[in-house]
Amino acid sequence: MNYQNQEIKSGITLHQIQTENYKTNLYAVFIATPLKRENVTLDALLTAVLRRGTKNLPSQEQISQKLEMMYGASFDCGVEKTGDNHIIKFYLEALSEEFLPKKEELIEECIKIILDLAFNPLTENNCFKPEYVEGEKKNLAQIIEGKIDNKSRYSYDRCTEEMFKDKPYGLYKFGYVEDLSKITPESLYEYYKKLIENCKIDIFCSGRIQNHNIKEIVQNNENIQKLQARKPEYIVNNETTEEENNNPTKVVNESMQVTQGKLVMGLNINETSENSRFIASVYNAILGGGANSKLFQNVREKQSLAYTANSGYVRAKNSIFIRCGIEIPNYQKAVDTIKQQLQDIQNGDFSQEDVQNSKELILASVEGITEEQDTEITYYYGQELADQFVSIEEYANKIKQVTKEQIMNLAKKVTINTIYFLKD
């Protein structure tokens, strides 16, 4: 395998992926912490403030100039929800040294910069620079208010919020405007110090790295040396303990100026036995995975009700989200058609060929993991957060073993948790 991981200190892990598929090397640092209402806004603001400057490169201008000199290396950071964890992600991408017009050392420099950005922020009088914090509070408020701009994304986020009301996964990853005002440069810095003492830290290097001793570079980095070993606080992604939900379906309607209605349905799988996530994955592909799926064929092709009609499986929450863009008066017809598809799968109204096609679809994306640098990193990070490691080959094998009967049995346990509709 081209992948290996090593513990640097307790709670801090280095992951290396050797690959020659790209012109670039990709570096990533992930910080995992449990999703909590009182922390989401702090986490989001933190990423914005950290990218403003480090002790060595104290302004965004200097960071950008430095990266431009490194042949357009690019840096970004942000927050993501993965299961019940909030992940602060830092990425740095730079050309592999062999594609530079003249010989230069870039690998050590990249590792130094990304670790600086995460762990060596610019401070003044033992807190973050007030100008940066105040500026970023305003920017973040605009980003949060901007969530209505993308109607499809907004509808999806709102359905998630309603489905996981008062639970960690229902939180909005960028946080809440009303929580911003009470954050000060001091309180944010206090939060940051505690966070990096207790969080789970994972460092990834991918690309043409075979001639470098990456472990040594990371171990000797002064930011890493300053960090203590820890027993990291995060939610292990345990595949067999997701709670069941059998409440009646919640229906939420919202109005906005739109010509096309956005319908999102959140489903609970309610099945947690071993390997059920692989069955759920095939179930989802049959339901709404591609052009052969029940949703695409029946909602879009046969009835012309929608331009988009698909479903996505959120593995870490064992949930499926169905998403359609429909003409507003067709709401009831679309909901009925979708319910019929769920019923049809329960009744076994799908062929062995459908099962095979759906597996092919999943297997193609599994095989494609090693062809996209960030996807490969995300896959291994997912394994790191889970309670057991599944290699890409094992993953493909488990998908191949799913049977029609298993899919029908799983379908019987699926319930509609929430129907969300955005209309005019």
């Binding site: 201008e61 100039q65 990266l67 042949y71 594609f99 017009p101 605009q142 096309q260 092709e301 996209e372």
Partner: protein, 424 residues
């Protein structure tokens, strides 16, 4: 086969024009699992008036035909849909229509042969009936509604409306519900017979292939085709001035979005690669991440992220576009104009130029990370009459003096337009 090479990035392209006129470009990528084939015709939304080569008939077609035709190509006489057939093999297939070309593509790790067969078969065998054309009008009508709700798309179309009086680039690619209502099988067949002739098409293949072998395979599957003469496309005369300087609409967005355009009235296709590189460098210098202007706007909270910018060109149009989100678009615009004036009067700073050149060079190399990106790039460049490797190979010829010239000849205030979408 003709071989073109870029030794700097260790890539080669094999190019062959077949007897029937079809151009095939093969870009081998050792050790990648993904294979990508894209087959494009030089027929886009701007080609709405032409003379058919065989019958010499002059034809005007309704807006949206190229895109409509793309949708209909998948349908087969036996009731199957080629998109479904490909998907059922785990092959990711798609198609798209732009201003100047239409493309059919697929990407896979397995079942490549079957995929290639299907692609070659469906693109060579149209099947349009009154019934299947009518049905499609409902689906495309939904797609048009989706664009109507998309502030980003409205922003772009309004910018085109400002830049051009008559040029068909200002027409919505999908047409309108009204214009597509006029589409009939006869219109589709006329366009198919004219524009889907091999001499008007290019195929790009990227993946782990032996060029000779794959070339023979494709050749063996092509239908015989009589030569047809040149397609005479009729466009309105090139316009030397803009249509109007400003257009603003209100939609449901949280913060205004803006697009500033500069029309390149001297678009003569001479040195278009060099010019494109120079414009890219200039845009980075004016409003890129490290620019004074961007940093200033960021501090003031009037830009939250770096604006997008691009130079779009073909023989029929050429313009620079800068777009972003800002609560004060006028101020951003003034900043851009002031910066251009300052750079024009005081000359371009050498250190700044060299740093940005490194970045832009790196950006071009990164395009070669992925088989899909490579294939799409070669196809789009071929449609523009451009050789893709030239962006790497000609890079060094772009000097500060040349860039300074481009700055004074293209970024002119009289050729500038502004499109804005404001909140309700």
């Amino acid at each position: 086969m003709k071989i073109v090479e870029s030794s700097k990035i260790q890539e080669k392209a094999y190019i062959e024009q077949l007897k029937n006129g079809l151009t095939i470009i093969i870009v081998p990528k050792k050790n990648t699992k993904k294979k990508y084939v894209i087959w494009g015709t030089h027929f886009g939304s701007i080609d709405n008036h032409f003379i058919m080569p065989k019958t010499k008939e002059e034809v005007y077609i309704p807006d949206g035909v190229a895109h409509f035709l793309e949708h209909k190509m998948f349908e087969q006489p036996d009731g199957t849909n080629s998109l479904d057939t490909l998907m059922s093999l785990g092959i990711d297939a798609n198609a798209y229509t732009t201003n100047n070309h239409t493309a059919y593509l697929f990407e896979c790790t397995n079942h490549f042969e079957e995929g290639l067969d299907e692609l070659l078969n469906y693109v060579q065998h149209p099947y349009f009936t009154d019934e299947n054309v009518e049905k499609e009008k409902g689906i495309i009508g939904q797609e048009i509604n989706m664009y109507d709700d998309d502030p980003g798309w409205q922003l772009y179309i309004n910018a085109m409306d400002c830049l051009y009086k008559e040029n068909p680039i200002k027409i919505d690619i999908a047409g309108t519900v009204e214009s597509i209502s006029k589409i009939t099988p006869d219109v589709l067949y006329k366009c198919y017979n004219t524009f889907y002739h091999p001499s008007n098409m290019t195929m790009v293949i990227c993946g782990d292939f032996e060029p000779e072998e794959i070339l023979e395979k494709v050749k063996s599957k092509l239908e015989p085709n009589e030569n047809q003469g040149e397609i005479k496309r009729i466009y309105p005369e090139k316009e030397q001035t803009i249509n109007k300087p400003f257009k603003s609409v209100k939609m449901e967005v949280s913060t205004p979005i803006f697009m500033i355009g500069f029309k390149d009235v001297q678009n003569d296709q001479e040195e278009s690669v060099k010019k494109h590189i120079a414009i890219q460098i200039l845009l980075e210098m004016i409003i890129g991440k490290s620019s004074k202007l961007y940093q200033e706007c960021y501090k003031q909270g009037i830009l939250l992220s770096q604006p997008d910018f691009d130079y779009e060109f073909s023989n029929q149009y050429a313009h620079i576009l800068i777009s972003g989100t800002s609560k004060d678009p006028q101020k951003v615009e003034k900043g851009i104009l002031d910066t251009i004036k300052e750079m024009r009067e005081n000359g371009i700073d050498q250190e700044h130029f060299e740093r940005i050149s490194r970045k832009v060079y790196g950006d071009f190399v990164i395009e070669y990370n992925n088989v899909g990106d490579i294939a799409r790039m070669f196809l789009a460049d071929t449609m523009k009459g451009v050789q893709t490797f030239d962006y790497i190979e000609q890079f060094e010829t772009v000097t500060r003096e040349y860039v300074q010239n481009i700055l004074s000849s293209i970024f002119k205030e009289e050729n500038k337009v502004t499109s804005i979408v404001e909140p309700n």
